[in-house]
Amino acid sequence: MLWYKAWLETRWRFLIGLAVLMGFACGAVFDYPVFVRLNASVSAIDASGHFGRLIREAVETQRTYRGFIWFQWYRQNLVQMWTILAVLLGSGGLMAASSGGALFALSMPVSRARLAGIRAATALLELLVLALIPSLLIPLLSPAVGEHYGLGDTAVHSVSLFLAGSLFFSLAFLLSAVFDDFWRPMLIACAVALSQTLIGALAGLPFSEMLRVMSAESYFRTGQVAWVGLGLAVTTGLLMLYAAVAIIERRDF
């Protein structure tokens, strides 16, 4: 019943997120023909400076379908929306039940570690699904625009996103163990996540390393999976979850 409870607590965030992501995945595929047409009618861009370079790189990358999907989906839409969902699902864990659900759960003969653990595990499973299922739509639908997208690529990118990005989930989860409200953990974790993904992507700043790992950029460009980056992210995430459970076990309710 603890799993069912965790499901009930996260269900709407998950289902709505899934619907939205699936919509955007379809959008990405069916955008391709439009993008190709637009590209054809635009001559070589003659922009200079830092942003000019970024734009030329973007255009270059998206010459292939694989590049287009990578750039639009795995580097932008999916990363951004999925990260927000990761933060949303991590916020307001045990305490979201500020109306008393926490006290009720705590009065059951169940350890706090188990309560928190099941809550975290449920959300993480949901996040894995949110990374995989919408992404699977792409190889499924690509033939409809006359293209092909590999299942292998889908798998690597989705799982990389999940492993690296779950760091943000863990951050939100840890913040929820410390703060009693829903908003503070969410806003803080969101700020951190956005600075890593969105801003990093725009400015090409150093800490967009996180974005590179989440979008499996080195795999995309060279076929080399960023094991170190993934390992670091997973380890950090696990440490944060461990810390969160430790805090939950010791604090007063």
Partner: protein
């Protein structure tokens, strides 16, 4: 002397600068229906939460069913035999009545299906209603159902009848009496409704400012506490009584009033030596005992 079901020894709890509990010791015996009285802020909810492992004491020890509360493994074991109903009747608002019953029942192998059916009907609870739409009374009924059906040995309640209409209040009290009588349960409940405590409790613990002030059987309190009025011709004296049991003394013009927690006869004897015009001895209600014992630090 059977082992106490609840025993706290010198519990202390400090929040920053605030001392919520300042060395609180109390005991509750098995089979007792024990009332827990105290002003707001005296430390009642803190104490109850400590017993359930929701709050860690700063120092001191508490044992429930013989197990130490501060041991997290033991605390889980405690909750297998204890039912708690918090002041706001905490439940999962997003679940239906049926869900929350099934959720709770899943933790208690001795779950009483017969009582579940009975109380669903008694409290008018329909299985598919969402908990958050329940009226206050029905919510209390559900919380009580969940507590009573798990066949617990100890029931801890924080203000069980607060905000309930007279009918629901009656049902709650009746359920408590019924279960103590027939199921060998112990009940420890905090309340502001002194009349209710007087009605159903056999023992009472009064705390104030984080300490136990009174802990006694209600019958003993009724038998022992007396208010003695000495009326004098002139201004009343302010004697120092040798007899024990003087809790408070008030002088108002020609009247000296003594609140005695025991030994009223001895006090009257001594008082007569002061040559009062008249002596009156009247019983003291629990409400008065409560009001006198909390308030001015004695």
């Amino acid at each position: 002397m059977p082992d106490a079901i609840i025993a706290t020894t010198n519990l202390r709890k400090t929040y920053g600068h605030v001392e919520a509990l300042r060395g609180l010791s109390l005991q509750v015996q098995p089979g007792s229906l024990c009332g827990f009285l105290g002003r707001n802020g005296a430390g009642k909810t803190t104490t109850l939460k400590i017993l359930l492992g929701m709050i860690r004491p700063t120092s001191g020890e508490a044992r429930v069913l013989g197990r130490r509360v501060s041991d997290s493994v033991a605390s889980v074991e405690i909750r297998r035999d204890v039912a708690f109903v918090g002041e706001d009747k905490p439940l999962f608002d997003y679940m239906t009545v049926q869900d929350v019953v099934r959720f709770t029942a899943g933790f208690y192998p001795r779950w009483r299906q017969d009582l579940e059916q009975r109380y669903l009907t008694t409290f008018g609870l329909s299985p598919r209603t969402k908990v958050k739409t329940l009226s206050r009374g029905m919510r209390a009924g559900l919380a009580l159902l969940l507590a009573l059906c798990r066949d617990a040995r100890l029931l801890i309640l924080d203000e069980p009848t607060s905000g309930l209409d007279p009918d629901m209040t009656e049902q709650v009290l009746q359920a408590l009496v019924r279960h103590v009588a027939s199921e060998e349960m112990t009940v420890f409940f905090s309340s502001h409704h002194i009349a209710e405590v007087e009605q159903i409790a056999d023992r009472v613990v009064i705390i104030d400012r984080g300490r136990t002030i009174v802990a006694a059987a209600l019958d003993d309190l009724r038998a022992q506490y007396r208010r003695i009025h000495f009326v004098f011709d002139d201004d009343a004296p302010a004697p120092v009584f040798r007899a024990k049991g003087v809790e408070r003394m008030y002088r108002d013009g020609r009247v000296l009033t003594v609140l005695a927690s025991a030994g009223a006869e001895g006090i009257v004897e001594e008082g007569r030596t002061l040559r009062p015009v008249s002596v009156d001895v009247v019983p003291v209600s629990l409400k008065e005992i409560f009001l006198e014992s909390s308030g001015v630090e004695g």
